[in-house]
């Protein structure tokens, strides 16, 4: 009886392991294939919790530099900054979980509000990072209309011109134009 129970447990565990690995829950293949250029020294960051010494430039678009960074403790970070000051990112995000199949976009777009009575925000800069397989980012109006579509190249997106008006979210689409992810 005990042997049968042990056998049942072993078979159950093996089946569960197989299902988890085939379901992709144990590993996420989403990645940024753009590894960037040579290592650059990162300076000007007075950041106690995220000590970053070096990074890689993934791209330069519309006067902005896109960085792939890593803290001295190995935590992955991403940053953006002006191309006139390479090595000095103006914004840095250190987070777990990006890129992932369920989280393929790290949007670093800048929003602006001029009304005190409503949280109505419009874009003043569009930029960010996207995982392999994301072909474009769509930004929406509050009524769901598409306000702007920005192509992703080399895991980076940036827009030269931005339409005025309120924005209420964004989504990632693949090469076929199919929506693969949407912001909360």
């Amino acid at each position: 009886m005990k042997v049968a129970l042990a056998l049942l447990l072993v078979v159950g565990a093996a089946l569960a392991g197989l299902l988890v690995s085939r379901g992709g829950a144990s590993r996420d293949t989403a990645e940024l294939s753009n590894r960037g250029g040579p290592t650059v020294a990162i300076r000007g960051l007075r950041m106690k919790l995220a000590t970053i010494r070096t990074g890689h430039v993934l791209a330069t678009r519309h006067g902005r530099v896109f960085y792939r960074l890593r803290t001295v403790s190995g935590e992955p970070c991403f940053g953006v900054g002006f191309a006139t000051d390479v090595g000095t990112p103006g914004s840095v995000v250190c987070q777990r979980g990006f890129p992932a199949g369920g989280d393929p976009v790290l949007d670093l777009s800048v929003y602006e509000g001029t009304r005190h009575d409503a949280l109505e925000l419009s874009l003043i800069r569009v930029e960010g990072f996207a995982a392999d397989g994301v072909a474009a980012i769509q930004f929406f109006r509050p009524n769901g209309d598409i306000a702007l579509t920005v192509p992703v190249r080399g895991n980076v997106y940036s827009a030269a011109s931005i339409p005025r008006g309120p924005i209420a979210g964004y989504a990632a689409v693949d090469e076929d134009g199919k929506r693969v992810w949407r912001s909360p």
Partner: protein
């Protein structure tokens, strides 16, 4: 005996004077960067930023926002936890706008992530001069710690 007491007093005065001089030099040598800072809710704890949260300090929005006093800030840092929970990709139900504001506008970036640390400098939002650092509620529940240094 009297001469001995005077000698002791003289030495004591010299010692105190030397201590005052050392303290003055040390104070003047402190970096100016440490002279301005702002934290919410404190510099060593997290707070829940909700729709009705306010620092009541004249922020852009009267509710759902915490903001610093006006200063020429170097950067704003924000750490957000997974509270009350994260999904497999460390997303939370909460969304915040973090950045800066002045009398004319509020600017920032959105984040819905938990287990995240973010930094932004005013110039990166094309802002300068006297500003308030701000973190504004947009959705859900957010447990954050915000700090700005000048």
């Amino acid at each position: 005996m009297t001469r001995c007491i005077l000698e002791h007093m003289k030495r004591f005065v010299l010692f105190v004077t030397a201590c005052v001089c050392v303290a003055a030099v040390a104070a003047l040598a402190r970096p100016t960067a440490a002279s301005a800072s702002w934290c919410w809710p404190s510099c060593s704890s997290y707070g829940l930023l909700g729709q009705s949260t306010s620092t009541y300090t004249g922020c852009w929005f009267s509710n759902g926002e915490v903001c610093s006093y006006y200063n020429s800030w170097f950067n704003l840092g924000m750490a957000k936890t997974c509270y009350p929970g994260c999904d497999w990709n460390f997303n939370t139900t909460g969304v915040v706008l973090y950045g800066f504001e002045n009398h004319d506008r509020i600017r920032g970036r959105f984040s819905s992530r938990g287990a995240v640390t973010l930094y932004v400098r005013p110039a990166d939002l094309s802002m300068s001069g006297l500003l308030r650092a701000q973190v504004t509620w947009y959705a859900g529940t957010n447990q954050v710690n915000a700090a700005a240094i000048g």
